[in-house]
Amino acid sequence: MRRVARWTDDRLGSSAFAEDALNKVFPDHWSFMLGEISLYCFVILILTGTFLTFFFDASSREIVYRGSYAPLNGATVSEAYASVVRISFDVRAGLVMRQIHHWAALVFIGAIVLHLCRIFFTGAFRRPRELNWIIGVTLLLLAIFNGFTGYSLPDDLLSGTGLRIAYSIALSVPLIGTWLAFLIFGGEFPAQQIISRLFVIHIMLVPALIIGLLGAHLAILWRQKHTQFPEAGRTESNVVGSKLWPTYAAKSVGLFCAVFAVLGALGGLAQINPIWLYGPFEPAYVASPSQPDWFLGWVDGALRLFPAWEFRTGSFMLPNPFFPAVLMPGITFGLLYMWPFLEARFTHDYGPHELLDRPTDRPVRSAIGAGVLTFYIVLLFAASNDVLARMFQVPVLAMTVAFRIALFVVPALVAFVVYRWFKAVKVSGAKGVMEVSLVQVRHPTPGGSHE
């Protein structure tokens, strides 16, 4: 070890930098692990994904399936579909790799969203960290996009339906929609090129972008140092915590192992995307019920809830999917990108912040965040309106109406409750959110709890 360090230092003069790195201080707080979890999911995605690329054939060419999954024997399927069935049944350790890969993608995006919530509710996006907020939101966008390209690759009936909807969404864009859809898919749906294109995008283009931005995200974090929660001894001009070497390194590698362990258990024990049960994609058939992976559920939910409106002026049409599936996501990410600047503008707070807010310090921000988050959670559930309707034995159309009402009522309610509650905590000076009484929530008063 020492000899390697010596050899490197002779050539790069790296000792000073390396020492700084070893002594770098990281604050200890559980919520700071969320970003790390997503990073480690990404590492696991690259590892398992690389294995999968060696066996996947990105081709729509039709062949006759011959393999050990008997029900499909002799069926005409695409090479892409056949190769995924082969990975699942005939490649040793193939199924566990595939399932870990899929689970890792779901947890990856989930951890990014939770990380984003942590950053939002504690105000960690404020100056000087606006840049990293922007990079982070872009990473979320790329992760969702690559999740979609990934689950579309097996060319099964469920994902083919997803591609069909994606094509229709592209088609709905005013003026350029037809060209957009034809250029992406190679022609009218289902053009032959889409699987091989998605493959290049999924394994090269987007991962390269993610790696680049992730590098920048971490470099900026390294340069700016972590934020920390206010506590005795912690100021705007210091960082208090554990050193990278050895404590934080051991914890972080431990966390990586823990993430891998959970994904291993999921990948081995919890079946996911059994494409041999869905069957190969046929344009005239459709899986029912059909739900996208969770990270696109909010868009599908919006498609289901948006009323039957379509606009027309003269010979031009503005198709229905444009509003829930182009405009709504556009506004969502537009507002996400702009949030640090919007908040600075409304609060007139343009100063740098190294100490975090507790969510209760900022009842307005927390109320907005909780309300908006609830809005998307309702949309996510709305993407299962047919499944829920069957479960509760009500007509699906009644379920849709209920969701349309809930979409606005529930977030407003959540925002209101969070505002009053957090305001009471802030005014009373209570230490925790549970330490205020209902009376105080109704009439915020300074001082301890009225037990």
Partner: protein, 281 residues
């Protein structure tokens, strides 16, 4: 001190369990592999590794309370001034010759536009592609397997997915054929001849987001799209009666030829499927 020894023992056990599980993983692979066993062993192997490392960090390594000072994020004003001075000095030459700068920008711009053109190679021209399907006048109606559909193929209440003969792979031509009782059904004005013997054919591509409108309820005479729950009234020209769809499913005018086979009178009279900006329907 004994606390430290306990922790050490626990960590050692964790690492040993991990080693055993890894060995098990190896053996599982060699003997042929089994997904559930592999997943469980990965979980045990990495889980106990995680446990050991975190216990080690928590109990035996120095934790918390180290303080690191932050340097200011911005540079000093002297550094900034010196940087702007350098930028200006080198920039003088460029500013003096604005003419060259403009030509350069023009040249780069054109290069950029030229570089965009290969994007055109990615797809065929939409043109009128979306305005028609593979249905032609006289085309025989066949099933997905290519079997010719005759006037006796369906009972009243029956449903079938059909294509124009020779185009069973044409996604835009997929059509849903239902047979209704001629006694109950009154065709829409102008469509009196489109449904011989109670055979009604509608485009199967949903006018909302393009999913196949695959579910048919014979009692309520409704077609239902499983993707976003649009419902269409078969007796009323497949008018949307619920869900996000706004336009009816285009109807295919049918005929029955001399040998009793179902044929198309002509293509759909409107573009099928989801809307697009210059969709005339």
């Amino acid at each position: 001190m004994s606390e430290g020894r306990d922790a050490t023992r626990l960590i050692a056990v964790s690492f040993s369990v991990s080693a055993l599980a890894s060995l098990g993983l190896l053996i599982t692979y060699v003997v042929g592999g089994q997904p559930q066993v592999e997943g469980s062993l990965i979980a045990v192997s990495l889980g106990s590794l995680a446990l050991g490392l975190i216990l080690w960090a928590h109990n035996l390594m120095p934790t918390g309370h180290f303080v690191e000072e932050r340097e200011p994020h911005g540079s000093t004003s002297a550094e900034r001034a010196s940087f702007t001075a350098d930028l200006d000095r080198s920039g003088d030459e460029i500013q003096r010759r604005t003419f060259l700068g403009r030509i350069l920008i023009g040249a780069l711009g054109l290069l950029g536009v030229a570089a965009l053109f290969p994007v055109r190679s990615l797809g065929t021209k939409p043109g009128r592609t979306l305005f028609h399907t593979s249905w032609t006048p006289g085309a025989r109606v066949v099933t997905g397997a290519g079997e010719v559909v005759t006037s006796s193929t369906l009972e009243v209440g029956g449903v079938l997915t059909v294509f124009p003969e020779g185009h069973t792979k044409a996604a835009d031509s997929q059509t849903i054929l239902v047979r209704v009782s001629t006694a109950e059904f009154t065709p829409l004005p102008g469509r009196e001849t489109w449904s011989p013997d109670g055979y009604l054919a509608y485009s199967k591509v949903c006018t909302h987001a393009g999913c196949p409108v695959a579910l048919y309820q014979a009692e309520s005479k409704e077609l239902f799209c499983p993707c976003h729950q649009s419902a269409f009234d078969v007796f009323d020209g497949a008018r949307p009666i619920a869900g996000p769809a706004t336009r009816p499913l285009p109807q295919l005018p049918l005929a029955i030829d001399a040998s009793g086979n179902l044929t198309a009178q002509r293509d759909f009279t409107q573009p099928v499927g989801p809307g697009f900006w210059n969709d005339p329907s």
